[in-house]
C-alpha cells in the first residue's frame, strides 16, 4: 500500500511541478499569494496521495471473488485511528489558516509612500484616474488603460457606476469587486515590466466578456513620458488624438477597422456610421439610447461620455469617427 501511495504522490508531485499552474508573477503580492498556494498544494497533494493510495490498494486487495457470499471482517471502528484523522486535519487546516492570514496581512499592507489610482468601472469599460497628476488646468489625468510604475506600490480605490464589476489582473493575483455605492480598496506593487490583461471577473451583463483593458508596467522614466504624451494629446484636442481616445474608450465594445478594434458588444461602426452627420455621431456618443441600432439593446452603452470627455476630446472623437468610419471596406 505504501508503494501505491508513493506512486500516487510521485504522479501528483510531477503534475504540481511540471505544469505551470500560475501565470507570470508580476507583483509583490503575487509572490505572497503564490507561497500560500504552494503550501496548500503540498498539503492537499499529500492528503490526496494517502486517499488515492488507500483506495487503489483496497479496491485491488479486497475485491470479492465472483459468487462470493462471505462477509468482511466485522470492524466497527478504531478510536485511535479516529482521533488521528480528526486531529491531524485540524493541525493541517490551522497551519493553512495561520499562514493564509499572515500572507493576507502582508499582501494588503499599504506602505507609507504609495500612489493612489482611482478605478471607476461601468458597463463595460474601465477608467483609471490619477489624483495628483494634472492633465490640464483643473483636470486630472485619466485613462482607459492602466499604466503603472514598476516597484511603486499602488492603492486602488475602486467604485462602480452601475452594477458590480471585479478588477482583476491575473499576473498581479489581486482581485477586488467594484461595488456601486461604496469604495473598495486593494493594493498592488508591480515588480515586472510588461503588459497584462485587466479583466472584469464579476458577471456584469451583456458586455462582460469584452470588459477588458490592459495594465502596462513601465519604468519611472517611461511613465513620465506617457504622462507627457497624454498632456500633449489633451492639449491638441483635435482628431490627432481621436484614434487613441477611441481605442481606449470605445474599442472594447465597437469594431472599427481603422483603429484596429474588433469587439462585437456594440454595433460595428464600419457598417453603421458611414453617411451619418457629425451631429448624429455626437448624439450617439452623448445620448446612446436616443437611437439604438437594430439588433442591440438600449441601456448597454454607458450614457455618461458627455461628462467624461472634455469638449475638445469629444470634437476630436467625432471628427475621427467621421473621417475613418467605413475605412475597412
Amino acid at each position: 500500500m505504501t508503494l501505491v501511495g508513493l506512486a500516487a504522490g510521485a504522479v501528483l508531485a510531477a503534475v504540481a511541478i511540471f505544469i505551470p499552474w500560475l501565470p507570470d508573477e508580476a507583483s509583490r503580492e503575487a509572490g505572497l499569494i503564490d507561497n500560500a498556494f504552494w503550501l496548500v498544494t503540498i498539503i492537499c497533494a499529500a492528503v490526496f496521495a494517502v486517499v488515492a493510495g488507500v483506495s487503489v490498494y483496497a479496491v485491488y486487495k479486497f475485491r470479492a471473488p465472483p459468487g462470493d457470499l462471505e462477509d468482511g471482517s466485522p470492524i466497527h471502528g478504531h478510536t485511535g485511528l479516529e482521533i488521528v484523522w480528526t486531529v491531524v486535519p485540524i493541525a493541517l487546516v490551522v497551519a493553512i489558516a495561520v499562514y493564509s492570514g499572515v500572507a493576507l496581512g502582508q499582501a494588503e499592507e499599504i506602505p507609507e509612500d504609495h500612489t493612489v489610482i482611482e478605478i471607476r468601472a461601468q458597463q463595460f469599460a474601465w477608467n483609471f484616474t490619477y489624483p495628483g497628476i494634472e492633465l490640464q488646468e483643473g483636470r486630472q489625468l485619466s485613462s482607459g488603460e492602466l499604466v503603472m510604475r514598476i516597484d511603486d506600490p499602488v492603492e486602488f480605490r475602486i467604485t462602480a457606476e452601475d452594477v458590480i464589476h471585479s478588477f482583476w489582473v491575473p499576473e498581479f493575483r489581486m482581485k477586488q469587486d467594484a461595488v456601486p455605492g461604496i469604495t473598495t480598496r486593494t493594493v498592488v506593487t508591480p515588480t515586472k515590466l510588461g503588459t497584462y490583461p485587466v479583466i472584469c471577473a464579476e458577471l456584469c451583463g451583456l458586455g462582460h466578456p469584452t470588459m477588458r483593458s490592459q495594465a502596462r508596467v513601465l519604468t519611472a522614466a517611461q511613465f513620465d513620458r506617457w504622462v507627457e504624451e497624454q498632456r500633449r494629446l489633451a492639449a491638441e484636442g483635435a482628431s490627432a488624438g481621436g484614434m487613441e481616445l477611441f481605442a481606449q474608450q470605445c474599442g472594447s465594445c465597437h469594431t472599427l477597422a481603422d483603429a484596429g478594434t474588433s469587439a462585437q458588444t456594440g454595433p460595428d461602426l464600419d457598417s453603421v456610421l458611414p453617411g451619418q452627420s457629425a451631429e448624429e455621431i455626437r448624439e450617439s456618443i452623448v445620448e446612446p439610447d436616443a437611437e439604438v441600432s437594430q439588433g442591440f439593446q438600449p441601456g448597454v452603452m454607458p450614457g455618461n461620455f458627455g461628462e467624461e470627455l472634455s469638449e475638445q476630446q469629444l470634437d476630436g472623437l467625432v471628427e475621427y469617427l467621421r473621417e475613418s468610419a467605413g475605412g475597412g471596406e
Partner: protein, 653 residues
C-alpha cells in the same frame, strides 16, 4: 394496512364515500380535466387583476409585463394546484364540510396514469420526484452542451452573449433547484419511511403537494426563454443585485420559480423531520438509524432554517424591480452587499443540502457492497451534525473579494477550513470501511467509490478557495467552475446515480442491466474528469467564469474540454436507455438482491402498498455485516440476518 384504516375511521367523522363522477361532473373533480378549464380561468383572473388594479390606480400603461408576470406566476400555479386536487381535502376541512373518508384510493400506483395524479403514497411520490428531476437534469444538461459548443472556440459562433448568459443561469438553476435538491428529496421520500419501518410519511397530503410544486418551478424557469424583450434570466443563478434588478423581465421567472421550488423543499423537509422523529419502528433508536436517515435529518434541518433566506432575497429583488423599493440600490439608500449576505446565508448551507443526502447514500452503498459495518458509525453521524452547525458559519467565504467588512474574512476562513475536518472524517471512515471488506463492484458501488475520489478532489480545491489569499486570485474564475462541478457533479450527481441504481430493483421490481450500468459509470467517470480537471488550470491562468468569449490563448484547452463534455453528455443516453428498457423488460428483482440488512430490503420489490404487513421490531445496528448472530430487526417473528434475509412472499397489491 387494515390497522391503519380502522384507526382512521375511529376518530374522523366522515361523509359517505364519493360516487364515481360522470358527465359534466367529471370536469369538477380533481384531475387533468379540471386543469383544462381552471388554469385558463386563473390565467384570466391574474391578467384581469394585474391590469384592473393598474387601471383603477391610474397607472400607465395598464399592460405592464413585469406586473403581469408576477400575477401569473402566483395565481396560475395556485389554480393548477387547486385543479389537480392538491387542496381538495383541506378545502373541505377549512370550509367546515365533512371531510372525505380516507379510502386510500390515493395510495399505490396500478397503472402509469397514477403517476400523473395527486397521489399520497410516498413510494409513488418518490418515483414522481425522481423521474421529474431526471427530466430537468436532461434539459439542464442540454443547455450545458450548448454552452460548451459556444465555448469550443473563442469568439461568438452559435449564440449571442445574452443567450449564453441565459444558458448558464438556467442550467445552474435547474440543476440545483430542480435536480440535485429534489432528486435527493425523491430518493429520501421513497426510502426513508421504509428504512425506519413506517407505513408512509407523516403528512402524505403535504408530501403530494410538495411534489406538484416542482414541475411548476421547473417549467417557470424553462419558460423564461419565452419572455419577450430579453428572454431568460441572465444574471447567473446567484442573481446578484443590482444587475438582476436592471435585467429584462425574464429575470422575474427566476425569482418566482425559486419561491415554488423553495416551498416544495421546506414542505418535504418538515415532512422528513416529523417522520424521522415520530414514526420510527419500535426499537429504532437514533443510534440504530441508517446513516441515510441521519443525513436526511441533518439536511431537512438545514432546509427548514436556511431556505426562507433565499426566498427573502428573491422577494426583495422582485420588490426592487416591480415596486421600485431600492433594497439593493445605493441611490435609494439600499445596500448592494446585503443581498450577497442574505443570498449566501441560504446558498452556502444549500451546498450541504446538496451533499449530505449523498453522504448518506454513499454510506449505505459502501457498507453493503463491502460487506462490512460502516466504520465509526457514531462519528459518521456526529460529523453530519457538525457539518450542519458549521455550515451556517461559513457563508461569507463566497464574498472574500466582494468588498464586505474586511475583518469578516478571517473568521470565515477559519470556519471554512475547519469544516474540512468532519468532512475528512467521513472520507477516511468510508475508506476504512473498505479495509478487509469483500468488495463487490456493482454499478452503485462504482458510483459510490467514484463519488469518494471525486469529492476528495472537490473538497481539496475547496481548501484553496477557503484560504483568503488564494481565493483572491481564484475566485470568479474557471477554478471555481471546476471546484463546484467536482463537488456537485463528482459528489452529488455520482451519489444520485449510486442511489438510483441501488434502489432501482426496490422501486421498479426489476433489475437494471449491470453491463450498461458499468459502461455508464466509466463513460461518466472519464468524461467528467477530462471535462472538468483542465478547468482548474484554465481558471488559475486567467480565464474568468461566465463568459461567452475568452482569450484565444485558452482556445485549445476549451476545445478539448468541449469534446470531453459531449462524451460526458452522451453517457446520459446510456443511463436513460438502461433505465427505460430495464423498467419495462428487466429481470424480476428479488426482495433483497444486495443481501442488505436495512429494512427496505426486507419487504418485496416493489414493497406492499403500506410497506410492512407487520411493524418490524428493531433490535440492533443496521450494518452488522459479518457479525455472527447480530440482527437489525425481527420481522414476522423471523430475524433479519445478513446474507440470509428472508425472501418474503409477494405482498398484496
Amino acid at each position: 394496512m387494515a390497522v391503519d384504516v380502522r384507526e382512521h375511521e375511529e376518530h374522523v367523522a366522515h361523509a359517505p364515500p364519493p360516487r364515481r363522477r360522470t358527465g359534466i361532473r367529471r370536469f369538477t373533480g380533481p384531475g387533468w380535466l379540471r386543469v383544462l378549464w381552471l388554469v385558463p380561468l386563473s390565467f384570466g383572473i391574474a391578467t384581469g387583476f394585474a391590469t384592473g388594479a393598474r387601471a383603477a390606480l391610474g397607472y400607465e400603461p395598464v399592460w405592464n409585463l413585469q406586473v403581469l408576470i408576477v400575477a401569473w406566476t402566483i395565481i396560475v400555479p395556485l389554480g393548477f394546484l387547486t385543479a389537480i386536487g392538491g387542496f381538495d381535502y383541506w378545502a373541505r376541512y377549512v370550509s367546515g364540510r365533512p371531510t372525505l373518508p380516507e379510502d386510500h384510493s390515493g395510495h399505490g400506483a396500478y397503472s402509469w396514469k397514477d403517476y400523473f395524479r395527486v397521489n399520497t403514497d410516498h413510494k409513488v411520490i418518490g418515483i414522481q420526484y425522481v423521474v421529474t428531476t431526471i427530466f430537468f437534469f436532461v434539459a439542464a444538461g442540454l443547455m450545458a452542451m450548448f454552452m460548451r459548443a459556444e465555448l469550443a472556440q473563442p469568439g461568438t459562433q452559435f449564440v449571442d452573449t445574452n443567450t449564453f448568459n441565459g444558458l448558464f443561469s438556467v442550467h445552474a438553476s435547474l440543476m440545483i433547484f430542480l435536480f440535485i435538491i429534489p432528486a435527493f428529496a425523491g430518493l429520501g421520500n421513497y426510502v426513508i419511511p421504509l428504512m425506519i419501518g413506517a407505513p408512509d410519511m407523516a403528512f402524505p397530503r403535504l408530501n403530494a403537494l410538495s411534489y406538484w410544486l416542482l414541475p411548476i418551478a421547473g417549467l417557470m424557469m424553462m419558460s423564461s426563454y419565452l419572455v419577450p424583450d430579453g428572454g431568460a434570466f441572465a444574471a447567473g443563478w446567484t442573481n446578484y443585485a443590482p444587475l438582476s434588478v436592471e435585467q429584462p423581465a425574464g429575470n422575474l421567472m427566476f425569482q418566482m420559480g425559486v419561491q415554488w421550488a423553495g416551498a416544495s423543499s421546506i414542505m418535504t423537509a418538515l415532512n422528513f423531520l416529523v417522520t424521522i422523529i415520530t414514526m420510527r419502528a419500535p426499537g429504532m433508536s437514533f443510534w440504530r438509524m441508517p446513516l441515510l436517515v441521519w443525513a436526511n435529518f441533518a439536511t431537512s434541518t438545514l432546509v427548514v432554517v436556511a431556505t426562507p433566506f433565499i426566498a427573502g432575497s428573491q422577494f426583495f429583488i422582485m420588490f426592487d424591480r416591480v415596486l421600485h423599493t431600492g433594497f439593493f440600490e445605493p441611490g435609494k439608500g439600499g445596500d448592494v452587499i446585503a443581498y450577497q449576505h442574505i443570498f449566501w446565508f441560504y446558498s452556502h448551507p444549500a451546498v450541504y443540502i446538496m451533499m449530505l443526502p449523498g453522504f448518506g447514500i454513499a454510506s449505505e452503498v459502501i457498507s453493503v457492497f463491502a460487506r462490512k459495518p460502516i466504520f465509526g458509525y457514531r462519528l459518521m453521524a456526529l460529523s453530519l451534525m457538525a457539518i450542519l452547525i458549521l455550515g451556517f458559519s461559513v457563508w461569507a467565504h463566497h464574498m472574500f473579494v466582494s468588498g464586505m467588512a474586511t475583518w469578516l474574512r478571517i473568521p470565515m476562513m477559519v470556519t471554512t477550513l475547519v469544516i474540512a475536518v468532519p468532512t475528512g472524517i467521513k472520507v477516511f471512515s468510508w475508506l476504512a470501511t473498505l479495509w478487509e471488506g469483500r468488495l463487490h463492484f456493482k454499478t452503485p458501488m462504482l458510483f459510490a467509490l467514484g463519488f469518494v475520489s471525486m469529492f476528495v478532489i472537490g473538497g481539496l480545491s475547496g481548501i484553496y478557495l477557503g484560504s483568503v489569499p488564494v481565493d483572491i486570485h481564484a475566485s470568479d474564475t474557471y477554478f471555481v467552475v471546476a471546484h463546484i462541478h467536482y463537488v456537485l457533479f463528482g459528489g452529488s450527481l455520482f451519489t444520485v446515480f449510486a442511489g438510483i441504481y441501488y434502489w432501482f430493483p426496490k422501486m421498479t421490481g426489476r433489475m437494471y442491466d449491470e453491463r450498461l450500468g458499468k459502461i455508464h459509470f466509466w463513460m461518466t467517470f472519464v468524461g467528467f474528469n477530462v471535462t472538468f480537471f483542465p478547468m482548474h488550470w484554465v481558471g488559475l491562468q486567467g480565464m474568468p467564469r461566465r463568459v461567452a468569449d475568452y482569450d484565444p490563448a485558452f482556445g485549445n484547452w476549451n476545445l478539448a474540454i468541449s469534446l470531453a463534455s459531449f462524451a460526458l453528455g452522451a453517457s446520459t443516453l446510456v443511463f436513460l436507455y438502461n433505465m427505460i428498457v430495464s423498467w419495462r423488460r428487466g429481470a424480476r428483482a428479488p426482495a433483497n438482491p444486495w443481501r442488505a440488512l436495512t429494512l427496505e430490503w426486507q419487504v418485496s420489490s416493489p414493497p406492499p402498498v403500506f410497506n410492512f404487513d407487520e411493524i418490524p421490531q428493531v433490535v440492533g445496528s443496521p450494518y452488522e455485516y459479518g457479525v455472527r448472530g447480530a440482527r437489525h430487526a425481527v420481522m414476522n417473528g423471523k430475524p433479519v440476518e445478513a446474507g440470509r434475509a428472508p425472501e418474503r412472499v409477494e405482498a398484496m397489491h
